[in-house]
């Protein structure tokens, strides 16, 4: 969290598709093109490995779990401890056992939350080295952050998400390695906006315009000075360049149909 995300967990999109509707982006009638989505995912993997120099850990896809590709929601990993997600929607709850197995098999200390404590992993928990932020109200429960704060010994400030479009924190909030924050204020309630302003000084806040927020510009993967994000976000790319980052645009429109983009497709590992 907040450190250089050199090693990322991903899951190939063999069984990706729009099979149900659990966020405003998803329409079963607006099917994802299987070939295109595979090509886009492999291009993202290539950029991450070849252009950015990240190391990718590939999970085995599972038939019937179309959203397993969104590994950001596997859980959260820090200090060798992996807290596995508890999905709010039954459609995704089947993913939990696969994520749990992967972490056990890879030597992590696995921690499970209580059954009725919804928490959707790094989709909702992001931060800088000294302070973390937890999105709540849409998917994760605020009470999860009291428990996570004890597990990791970190201050976690809950932020209320008020728009169904930006249902996970990582859809509208992206801490960068240099301490800057890429974010879209309208996705938060006024208290959360004030909290962000109070904890991230003005010079470090990069506000993404609405049109690009809706292209999921904030759903970006930051590894060192590299930032990989969805294509179609020129203003965000320019702002990143101004601050010394190297932005990489990847077309991910097939995944946007499911309400996900670059960051959703990866999980930072220790």
């Amino acid at each position: 969290m907040g450190k250089q995300m050199g090693r990322l967990l991903v899951c190939p999109p063999d069984y990706f598709g729009i099979e149900y509707e659990i966020n405003p982006w998803m329409r079963v009638s607006n099917a994802a093109d299987s070939e295109k989505s595979k090509a886009q995912w492999h291009e993202l993997a290539r950029v991450l490995e070849e252009d950015v120099g990240a190391k990718l850990e590939r999970m085995t896809p599972v038939k019937g779990l179309p959203d397993l590709v969104f590994t950001a929601n596997a859980g959260v990993v820090h200090d060798g401890k992996a807290v596995i997600s508890r999905f709010r929607h039954p459609e995704r709850q089947g993913e939990e056992e696969h994520f749990e197995r992967w972490f056990r098999e890879h030597g992590y200390h696995v921690i499970l939350l209580e059954k009725d404590c919804y928490f959707e992993g790094a989709g909702d928990l992001l931060g800088f080295p000294d302070i973390w932020f937890g999105g709540y109200r849409q998917r994760s429960d605020i009470k999860a952050y009291t428990v996570l704060s004890q597990i990791y010994g970190k201050e976690i400030l809950p932020l209320e998400l008020v728009s169904g479009q930006f249902y996970h924190l990582d859809t509208c909030f992206c801490p960068l390695s240099g301490g800057e924050l890429l974010y879209y204020p309208a996705a938060f309630d006024t208290y959360a906006q004030a909290t962000i302003v109070h904890h991230v000084e003005a010079a470090r806040r990069i506000v993404v315009p609405q049109a690009e927020a809706e292209r999921f510009a904030c759903n970006a993967v930051c590894v060192g000075t590299h930032v990989v994000l969805s294509a179609g976000c020129p203003e965000t790319m320019a702002m990143l360049k101004d601050r010394g980052y190297i932005p990489h645009a990847v077309e991910l429109d097939q995944f946007l149909k499911s309400g996900g983009s670059a960051k959703c497709l990866t999980l930072a590992l220790d």
Partner: protein, 422 residues
């Protein structure tokens, strides 16, 4: 004013969650005391606050609690109620929770449920799919029913005073023949008028248009002294005029009422002449026999055997009647329910919608009805014997207003208050 204590934990200061929760309480019309607060000494350490939330009504309190729970407020000390299966049909678990007639909630899966059909001295059965809680009489419980046991996870709310500033707002039993009763009768009459209007509204514009708190039915619980003492015409007029909608009584009230219709006597006394007529003591038996021959009260009225009086009015106005039998009954009339459990069930079935209960000249039926009534139903108990309203109150129906007076005088004054010219 109702209060609930909640706790809030985590990094609630820096994240502005605490001010947000407090603002939410105020914005929704509630109030709070920040009864305890512990601020974490380091940034890593979480903070803890205890907040007492106040609201005018239980409904508003529930709404506020629901709104702030999303921000992490947890109702302090709240635990689910304990549930145990009934060991066999008609037998409750040993430590079953015995109800009062006050509004009650039970907590199941973290959610407070209103107990439906609240009534004193029953148990509470929790049913899933859809999740709800409802009172259940001991005799009706089935083996395996999930019954609330112990006291945890159960809360009882004090009675909210009725909106109208009438005699029922004080909910005290004024049991004395020395007190003036005119204002009590005027208040009863006023409430009967409001309920009749409310009922009319429900009939004309649909249930949604009426005031559910006020009720759409007036219940009268009566004993035979109404007929003996001369209150028959006044009560018939009240029924004919649409002020009464449910009648609870035994065998005697209808028997003597119909005796009066056939023979002009009540328990053998000429109602007009005022003296015993020869063989008059047989009249009620002959009346019961003729009604049995006719097949029932409805048939007796419709065939013309019974021409006037309380029963004739009830049949004509399609009043919901529950006639509950007792061990000393003559006959009884075919309409009398002789199985006490069935009679209780029939009384309960007639209660939804009752907004006023008037008990006149009966001890047994008044107490039986008091046992089935939620405390929020305004109740007046009229008897010439002060022991009856006192007994009703002592048996738990504290909401009943007692009036010590002759039943006939009461009914006549009440009818006159409602513009009867008899």
């Amino acid at each position: 004013m109702v209060t609930e204590t909640v706790t809030l934990e985590g990094h609630i200061i820096d994240s502005l969650i605490l001010p947000k929760v407090l603002d939410t309480i105020l914005q929704m019309g509630g109030a709070f005391d920040l009864s305890k607060i512990h601020v974490g000494a380091t940034r890593k350490e979480s903070s803890h606050a205890e907040i007492r939330v106040h609201a005018e009504t239980t409904h508003l309190l529930e709404e506020i609690l629901q709104a702030i729970q999303a921000h992490g407020a947890v109702v302090a000390g709240a635990v689910d109620c304990a549930l145990e299966p009934a060991p066999k049909d008609g037998v409750l678990p040993d430590s079953f929770y015995a109800t009062s007639h006050l509004p009650t909630q039970v907590r199941v899966n973290g959610q407070w449920l209103d107990v439906e059909a609240i009534e004193m001295d029953l148990a509470i059965r929790v049913v899933r799919d859809p999740l709800h809680a409802r009172t259940v009489p001991m005799a009706e419980v089935k083996a395996g029913d999930m019954i609330v046991t112990g006291r945890q996870g159960v809360r009882v709310f004090p009675l909210e005073r009725p909106k109208e500033r009438d005699v029922f707002a004080f909910m005290e039993a004024h049991v004395s023949s020395e007190r003036p009763h005119r204002h009590v009768i005027a208040d009863v009459a006023h409430r009967m008028r409001m309920i009749r209007d409310n009922r009319q509204k429900a009939l004309n514009e649909g249930e949604a248009a009426c005031d559910p708190e006020l009720g759409t039915k007036v219940l009268i619980v009566g004993g035979p002294a109404i007929v003996h003492a001369g209150g028959r015409e006044a009560l018939s007029w009240l029924i004919d005029s649409g002020f009464i909608h449910v009648l609870f009584c035994g065998n005697a009230l209808p028997a003597h009422d119909m005796e009066a219709s056939i023979f002009g006597t009540s328990l053998g006394y000429g109602l007009c002449a005022g003296h015993a007529v020869p063989h008059g003591h047989e009249h009620h038996l002959r009346t019961i026999n003729r009604v049995r021959a006719a097949g029932g009260i409805k048939q007796a009225v419709e065939s013309g055997l019974i021409k006037d009086g309380i029963m004739a009015s009830c049949i004509r106005k399609n009043i919901d009647m529950v006639l509950a039998g007792s061990i000393r009954d003559d006959g009884p009339l075919p309409d009398v329910i002789t199985d006490t459990l069935q009679a209780q069930a029939a009384m309960r079935a007639a209660l939804p919608g009752v907004g006023l209960a008037i008990m006149v000249a009966t001890t047994l039926h008044a107490i039986a009805t008091g046992n089935c009534l939620p405390a929020k139903v305004p109740t007046v108990c009229v008897d010439i014997n002060p022991a009856v309203p006192t007994k009703l109150s002592d048996r738990g129906s504290f909401q009943a207003v007692g009036l010590v007076m002759d039943s006939s005088s009461f009914l006549r004054e009440l009818a006159q208050e409602l513009s009867w010219h008899g």
